[in-house]
């Protein structure tokens, strides 16, 4: 019996979520860099406007992997219908359909393509799409692989990044 229901199969290609960030601030960038380089001081281009201005990018930019949606988004203001960490069926619940009902989930892998950098003042729009489901039986039993794609664009509709993640549920 397949883990991919008719409803799930029909949902492939659907938009899962859409969000807009608050404007990226120099403080957000500085704290991200401090945390990811801790306990050493991060490169000056992430916190010193003068040093950053002398770099090829001509000013402070966020590290590529920076997350402008941490803590809170400007939109939407409502909470998602379930917690992605605690609910393995979170993706399907975003679509209002039943999930496969598997108990465990883990991050199987990520890939990213970067466009323009994020700068202070940028507002980032995120659109997450369901790309595909595949299933197989492995040493953990029946396993469902779900690929999602998250596209980030700035206020000028320039692509910031295109990020794919494979979620493994079993």
């Amino acid at each position: 019996m397949s883990l991919i229901s008719v409803d799930m199969g029909a949902a492939v290609g659907s938009e899962l979520s859409r969000a807009a960030s608050f404007p990226v601030s120099e403080s957000d960038i500085r704290r991200w860099a401090i945390a990811t380089y801790y306990p050493r001081r991060p490169p000056a281009r992430f916190w010193d406007a003068k040093a950053a201005g002398e770099c090829a990018l001509g000013g402070i930019v966020a590290p590529e992997e920076f997350n402008p949606f941490a803590w809170m988004a400007a939109e939407p203001r409502t909470r998602p219908p379930s917690d992605p960490v605690r609910d393995p069926d979170h993706l399907e619940h975003l679509l209002g359909i039943a999930g496969p009902g598997l108990r465990n989930q883990l991050n199987g892998g990520v890939s990213v393509e970067y466009g323009v950098p994020m700068r202070p003042g940028d507002v980032i729009e995120s659109v997450v799409t369901l790309v595909r489901y595949t299933e197989k039986t492995g040493r953990l039993g029946a396993m469902l692989f779900t690929v999602t794609e998250e596209l980030w664009r700035n206020q000028r509709m320039e692509t910031v990044r295109r990020f794919q993640m494979t979620l493994i549920r079993y």
Binding site: W32, Y37, Y38, A56, P63, E65, W71, E113, Y114, P117
Partner: protein, 143 residues
């Protein structure tokens, strides 16, 4: 010394990016990424999930690999693409290092593109043994 482009050799290793990982490191990352997940903050929660204790975030290894590549590039280029597969958990007290090596150089539309093998590995504090935690690839564009 010459420019980075002049020094590129297939098989050349990037200077590793290394950190000792424990709650002081993970809590700081949780605070900027809003990643307050019990298995990253509590040994008991990790054991309840079948792990030896609390474990580090995959997103932090992802950040360490970006730091590795950025520190190597300096102002000579930027990251175009990266992918990563997670293979093992980062346990408390492990020394985690991010590594890279040059696998190829091609002339792209916008300049010289360099492909890299990248990976993270951990040295266990008790046994001294190294283990790969995640493996992937990266492509950078040189200015």
């Amino acid at each position: 010394m010459g420019t980075l482009a002049e020094r590129l050799v297939v098989g050349a290793k990037l200077p590793p990016f290394t950190r000792v990982t424990d709650f002081d490191v993970w809590n700081r990352f949780a605070a900027v990424n809003y990643e307050f997940v019990p298995i990253h903050m509590d040994d008991a929660a990790g054991r309840e999930a079948g792990l030896p204790g609390a474990v580090g975030m995959g997103n932090l290894q992802w950040a360490y690999l970006h730091n590795l590549v950025r520190d190597w590039l300096g102002d000579d280029g930027r990251i175009l693409r990266m992918d990563l597969q997670f293979r093992a958990m980062n346990r408390r007290g492990q020394t985690v290092s991010a590594h890279g090596e040059v696998r190829g150089v091609t002339h792209g539309d916008d300049g010289l593109e360099v492909s890299l093998n990248v990976w993270t590995e951990a040295v266990d504090a008790d046994t001294g043994k190294a283990q790969q935690l995640a493996v992937g690839h990266c492509v950078v564009l040189l200015h």
